[in-house]
């Protein structure tokens, strides 16, 4: 395994206020290899990439290219040193021609010679087998071709290290294949490629080596062919398979209390989610699980009508209904606690009281305001029930801790007395005590007949609360686990897919 080392990152450390984002991480890229960088959310892979591309400065460690140590000051500097990045979102100008996009920002002098540039671009594109012409306006090319033009630019800049950050997430299968062909081609030419993706199958299709990060630490570097998929998942999530097997049947049955189906969807799809079937009984707690990007959030967002719903039949209590917008979902008794509470949840400048009554106010409509006295009573009640730690009900929510912010949003939905509550990562980034409180609350709600869909990255949490787990991979539902199957190793096997053993 003594291939030629291209890029060496040693002992990389990066600190953010209060967090050690990277703790002594090593990463090695060899000439002519495709190296997948894997890890769940918060594992530190994007931090590592950003250090490599000069967006962040590292707090400790060293980087060397072809044996000579380098310092990277800016994205521009990184490119000059042979490190190019192609991001998930196309970072080219759609209003310019393909050729201009390949050469702009790199030329010297006052004048631009479009004809010569277009000819040069055509040559490069032809050599790389990219189906585009230099004179064509970039915006008229497909996304895959645009991505390839970005790669062609990088290649022409004599990049040694090419970072592909989630390049395939907006491409269809055919386009992915085109991209992979190009990647293999570049690999043969000696370029080292760092491939960041959340599609496991793609990792196995194209990569030679895998480096796994978890919680800002290096888990290990493996040859792709020597690391079964289920092991990879275990390493990403942080449980060794042996340990998992001994855990045995942790999940207990009998959490279901009613046979009445509350919500049922057939072939529901949205702009973000592929068609899926789903149902939940009254008083049932179920969960969506899968790796980040597997489509679990997108699916529940479709249930709530948060994204543009494209199709599917939905029944609530047996009655066919149409839910295309959140307000319609709310009127049918569905509440949704969004994944990103900073963006989709709290309004930081408003007080605890105002945040709590928000959803109820929306449901009542603007012409039936909730009186001040009423809203104060509601706020006080839920501050007490949920044990929200706040100076007063008029304190701006933004000044509360993460856990208490989460409780405020929970209070908001509980106040609307939902029949069905969707909680997307309600426990992310909050302390363990509050986590347990929220889990208890979920179980209590279910006892009272509320259906709950619970999503969490922590599988133990899901096993503790859910009586049924829906497993997703690569935007498809790949399994449903109940009863005896509700245990860590079974969940991971299902996440990893059939070929694992």
């Amino acid at each position: 395994m003594q291939d030629e080392c291209l890029l060496q990152m040693r002992n990389i450390e990066k600190r953010f206020p209060g967090v050690l984002a990277l703790n002594g991480v090593d990463f090695t890229l060899r000439k002519g290899e495709i190296h997948a960088l894997m890890g769940e959310n918060g594992a530190g892979k994007s931090t590592l990439i950003k250090i490599l591309t000069g967006v962040y400065r590292m707090d400790g460690g060293s980087i060397s290219i072809e044996g000579s140590p380098i310092n990277i000051h800016s994205p521009q500097d990184a490119q000059n040193k042979g490190i190019s990045t192609v991001y998930q979102e196309i970072t080219l100008c759609p209003n310019l021609s393909v050729a201009e996009n390949m050469f702009i920002g790199r030329e010297k002098g006052v004048w631009v010679d479009q004809k010569t540039n277009e000819k040069r671009a055509d040559e490069i594109l032809e050599r790389l087998g990219i189906p585009a012409r230099g004179a064509k306006q970039l915006g008229n090319c497909s996304l895959a071709v645009q991505q390839m033009v970005a790669i062609a630019r990088a290649v022409d800049m004599k990049c040694k290290v090419l970072i592909l950050d989630e390049p395939t997430s907006s491409l269809d299968d055919k386009e992915v294949k085109m991209l992979f062909d190009l990647m293999r081609d570049l690999k043969a030419k000696g370029v080292g490629i760092i491939f960041v993706t959340h599609f496991l199958e793609q990792v196995y299709e194209v990569s030679d080596r895998i480096t796994v990060l978890r919680n800002g630490e290096l888990v290990g570097e493996y040859l792709t062919e020597e690391l079964p998929q289920v092991q990879l998942v275990a390493k990403m999530i942080g449980k060794d398979l042996d340990e998992l097997n001994t855990l045995g049947e942790a999940g207990e049955d009998g959490k279901t209390r009613s046979e009445e189906v509350y919500y049922e969807a057939k072939g529901l799809s949205s702009s973000e989610a592929l068609p899926f079937d789903f149902s939940i009984r009254k008083g049932e707690v179920n969960g969506f699980t899968g790796l980040l990007g597997s489509g679990r959030s997108e699916s529940v967002r479709a249930i709530f009508g948060a994204d543009k719903v494209n199709g599917g039949k939905v029944k609530i209590k047996g009655e066919p209904v149409k839910i295309t917008r959140p307000i319609e979902a709310m009127k049918h008794g569905i509440g949704y606690l969004a994944e990103d509470r900073k963006r989709d949840g709290i309004i930081a400048e408003l007080s605890v009281r105002e945040n709590i009554i928000l959803a109820l106010q929306v449901m009542n409509g603007f012409f039936k305001p909730i009186s001040r006295r009423e809203s104060e009573a509601f706020a006080d009640e839920y501050i007490k029930v949920l044990n929200i730690k706040t100076a007063s009900r008029e304190t701006p929510v933004g000044s509360l801790s993460g856990g208490n912010q989460q409780k405020v949003i929970l209070a908001r939905w509980l106040l609307t007395h939902p029949d069905y509550l969707i909680l997307d990562e309600p426990t992310r980034g909050i302390d363990i005590g509050t986590k347990l409180e929220i889990q208890k609350l979920v179980l209590k709600l279910a006892e009272d007949g509320v259906s709950v869909t619970f999503i969490s990255s922590e599988i133990e949490e899901m096993l503790r609360t859910c009586s049924r787990l829906i497993v997703m991979r690569d935007r498809h539902i790949v399994g449903e686990l109940t009863g005896k199957d509700l245990n860590q190793s079974q969940v991971m096997k299902t996440i990893a897919g059939g070929e694992a053993s």
Binding site: P75, Q76, Q79, Y87, I90, T91, L92, C93, P94, N95, L96, S97, E100, N101, I104, G105, R106, E107, G109, V110, W111, V112, Q114, R133, A135, K136, Q137, G139, N140, S142
Partner: protein, 351 residues
């Protein structure tokens, strides 16, 4: 023979690329202008049949065309500059007063350029380097320039300097484009100096936008600012320069306007910024940036003026009819643009 064959092969291989948005919108504007003008010639005859009609439009609007060019650059870069009219007015007033106090014409030109440049530099710096909203900055510039014009003189001031008056009265006479009046005298078509300046500006900005690195960078920052940054373009500097050029053109526009009116007035060039924005938009510049061209802007301005002339020829002499038709025109073009671009986007999606 052999050579011929090769040519054919190449021709077959080089499939014509579809028009870019810029080209498409510009073509639409030019076509509409031509159609409108020909219709006016058929329906109204009279003045429209004489070349002088076109020269009148050019004479009256040379300064508008010049500021529109500057605005087009700013808008291509994704910004806006609403100070251009007020700066033009300030330049006129300053130069008139300077000339009347025994100033030299060449120094007056420098003064005009200097005032425009100063506004461009300051506004550009505030917008690019302090990252203040361009609308706010140039609105402040507008008030500032208007106020300063009034301070200089609240009363209209006529240029009395003999050398300048000579320049003012100077006309290029183009005999073969003239016409014969009823009494048999030949009346040549006349064109002011300002028109030549306007044409030079349009040509220069066209070359700048089309063939220079800086020009293409304007398109890049307007197309996608983050991308432009990642592509290694100095976004701040580029944006700064767009406002500097716009300011400079406002200065030139001021001098040209003075050559046209020969007088300074606090209400000079009132509403010119809005007409310039309208010209740019009709000419196919998108307010969202990244798309546009000065040739289009030139025809945009001409279209706007033709419609005004048509309104007058229809006997609707009250000034509000011109405003109403301008508004209608603008709506029509924006609708047309969004329909054309929307259809394009949908077609692309299908592919």
């Amino acid at each position: 023979m052999k050579k011929n064959g090769n040519d054919k092969v190449i021709k077959a291989k080089v499939k014509r690329e579809p028009l870019t948005e810029t080209q498409l919108l510009m073509t639409i504007t030019i076509c509409i202008f031509v159609v409108m003008y020909v219709l006016a010639m058929i329906v109204f005859e009279g003045g429209f049949l004489h070349a002088q009609q076109i020269f009148d439009m050019l004479n009256d609007n040379a300064s508008l065309i010049i500021v529109s060019c500057g605005l087009t650059i700013v808008m291509i870069g994704g910004g806006i500059d609403i100070s251009v009219g007020a700066v033009t007015s300030l330049v006129v007033m300053s130069c008139v007063l300077y000339l009347n106090n025994g100033g030299n014409i060449f120094v007056a030109v420098l003064l005009a350029l200097g005032i425009g440049l100063a506004f461009g530099l300051i506004q550009g710096a505030l917008i690019s380097y302090l990252e203040i909203q361009p609308f706010i900055v140039t609105l402040a510039g507008l008030f500032f320039a208007r106020g300063f014009t009034t301070i200089l003189s609240i009363n209209p001031q006529k240029v009395a300097q003999p050398a300048f008056v000579k320049l003012l009265d100077f006309r290029f006479e183009i005999g073969w484009l003239g016409y014969t009046a009823k009494n048999g005298t030949k009346i040549p078509a006349t064109m002011e100096i300002g028109v030549i300046v306007a044409f030079v500006c349009v040509a220069a900005i066209f070359v700048l936008l089309q063939f220079t690195r800086l020009g293409r960078n304007f398109y890049a920052i307007g197309g996608n600012q983050t991308s432009a940054l990642m592509l290694g373009i100095n976004v701040k500097m580029t944006r700064f320069l767009s406002y500097v050029i716009s300011g400079l053109l406002s200065g030139i526009s001021g001098f040209v306007l003075m050559l046209h009116t020969g007088a300074g007035n606090a209400t000079n060039a009132a509403g010119m910024e809005m007409n310039a924005i309208a010209s740019s938009i009709i000419g196919g510049t998108l307010l969202t940036g990244g798309v546009g061209n000065v040739i289009g802007t030139f025809f945009g301005g001409m279209t706007l003026n033709t419609i005004k002339k048509i309104v007058v020829a229809s006997g609707l002499n009250d000034p509000w009819w011109q405003s109403i038709t301008t508004g209608g025109m603008l709506c029509f073009f924006i609708l047309l643009q969004s329909i054309v671009l929307g259809r394009r986007a949908r077609k692309k999606q299908k592919n």
